[in-house]
């Protein structure tokens, strides 16, 4: 186990190195002089020169990269060009909002996806199975920004049940907070529920055909006990670890969902930064996202090995 952990940790080093190179290289894609573009409408030569000095743009690319990495390793992701706040502070400020939204989305996805997957597997080739498969296909094919707009139209414009936009922190008023995040969380969880449903269905079908489930049935156990106690427990282990890999889908979805529902989270931060040409923020957000994703992948791998004794040797 320790060997595996050590090996996986060693593999992280080159991956993180390449992630940093990719993210830093984005700057090279800017057409023309990066300092001029970063300055935006500010045409004061002194300001442009200051940007050039600050980002070491007058030095060769590898040297610029080394300065940037040095900063990143010491927790300095740069400074927002527009509001002059450290990028890391901005990210830490917005992250709790996205964590709340993401957690709610995951709960919704787990409840819908796993239930639909189990029902679909135990009622294989029935109307329930077809309905669950149709739901999965719908979830995968529906653009979440369209679903968000349609839900706003139904629940905010027509029925007036939920606020169309805005965010109330959980600490301020938990009821208003839930009301402001339930719709975006559903939009975000919908696509992940569809993916989880497919994973759960195939894992359950595999488990239901296994010898120990046949033995449990032969012992005369109730079908409910066989499904809940014997089949489900084993089928869900890979599903939950696979679910952790949907973190990328969650963050990508959060960008659009937060934009539609005007939620001041991590996703909205990157979009605002894009339109403000605040490139340091864009780079910082992508770097943090990728790092969290890599760590989650590692944790998912470890969890999978921990719960699966056959992989421990």
């Amino acid at each position: 186990m320790l060997n595996l952990l050590g090996k996986r940790l060693l593999q992280l080093i080159p991956t993180l190195f390449f992630v940093s190179v990719i993210i830093f290289s984005l700057q090279q894609l800017l057409p023309g002089d990066p300092a001029l573009i970063m300055a935006g409408e500010e045409r004061d030569p002194a300001v442009i020169e200051q940007i050039r000095q600050q980002y070491h743009l007058d030095r060769p690319f590898p040297v610029q990269y080394l300065y940037w990495v040095q900063g990143v390793l010491s927790g300095n992701l740069g400074e927002s060009m527009r509001i002059h706040v450290p990028v890391l502070d901005l990210i830490l400020q917005k992250l709790p909002v996205t964590i709340q939204l993401g957690s709610m989305a995951i709960v919704i996805a787990l409840v819908i996806g796993i239930s639909a997957g189990i029902i679909s597997a135990i009622k294989k080739n029935t109307i329930w199975d077809y309905a669950a498969n149709a739901f999965a296909l719908w979830g995968i094919s529906t653009p979440n920004f369209w679903l968000g707009i349609m839900l706003i139209f139904l629940f905010s414009v027509k029925l007036g049940w939920l606020p169309a936009s805005g965010y109330v922190p959980l600490t301020e008023d938990w009821r208003a907070s839930l009301a402001s995040t339930i719709m975006p969380a559903f939009v975000l969880g919908n696509a992940i529920a569809a993916i989880l449903m497919r994973h759960t269905r195939s894992a359950m079908l595999q488990v239901l055909e296994s010898d120990y489930v046949r033995t449990a049935r032969a012992k005369g156990l109730y079908e409910r006990t066989v499904i809940l106690k014997h089949a489900m427990r084993n089928a869900l282990t890979p599903v939950i670890t696979l679910g952790a890999l949907e973190f990328g889908t969650l963050l990508s979805g959060a960008v659009l969902t937060e934009q539609i529902f005007t939620i001041p989270g991590f996703g909205k931060l990157i979009i605002d930064a894009v339109f403000n040409r605040d490139y340091a923020v864009v780079q910082g957000v992508v770097l943090v996202t990728a790092t969290v994703y890599i760590v989650l992948n590692l944790l998912a791998d470890i969890a999978y090995v921990l719960v699966n004794p056959r992989l421990r040797t």
Binding site: F145, I149, L256, I270, F275, N297
Partner: protein
Amino acid sequence: MADITVNTKLIPAKDVPETPLRRAMRRLFHRKSAVFGLTIVAFFIALAVFAPLLSPYDPVAQSWTLVRQPPSASHWFGTDDLGRDILVRVIYGARASLLAGVISVGIALSIGVPLGLAAGYLGGFLDSLIGRMTDAMLACPFLILAIALAAFLGPSLGNAMIAIGVTTTPIFVRLTRGQVLAVKMEDYVEAARAVGNPRWRIVFVHILPNIMPALLVQATLSIAAAIIAEAALSFLGLGQQPPEPSWGSMLNSAQRFLVNAPWMAVWPGLAIFLTVLSFNLVGDGLRDALDPREVGRS
């Protein structure tokens, strides 16, 4: 000298062995969902190709007398906030979406497949290098990387296609590499190597055609993902630029008029949903049709 008699009896068609391609096509067309998907895809391709012939109005011409008109006999899908016919814009929007889907995946294939072939066949340091780069790209969530790339390249449909194509590339690198590893120890590849074929010939003549089915399935599913991504980038203002129509940008402007003109949001969204759904159905159908495990079952 013995007489030679030639048996001219024809072999019945049912006894002629079916080619893998024909078998795959037969199985694909036996799946109702795949046929439905293919029909919708063909419908949208026809819309995109014949858009000028099918459209009674100019997709960008504005009319202040027709602002936000509900669906009617003269404007089936209604008009938008600038008085433009929504049906015509949905028809023209099919061009941007399909083009983005196909070109992005084309970019991903043309970069990803050669890299995957090289990594899988040559192995060693090159494989490790390409593998780590692929891992790094896959670590950045797809849409976030596409947004970042599109932001740095500048907002336009062409740049959105490049951004989506580049972010889709690692999927094809990984898939191609895995397929090559599975195929390269097969007897026919060993035989090709034993008779002295050069590496490039083994890779392009013996390996590549045998991994095409897996690539085809992934390409179809990736087109669906690329269409959603293009719509998302256009929705955010990083793809197709106004006044040119695109389903994503139409949804962006529709959001502001949800109270007074909800029809503005329905049709472009439905068009994205139907197109993506059909590519997903075709992809799923192709996967089943090309799966060797299904051979004995049909």
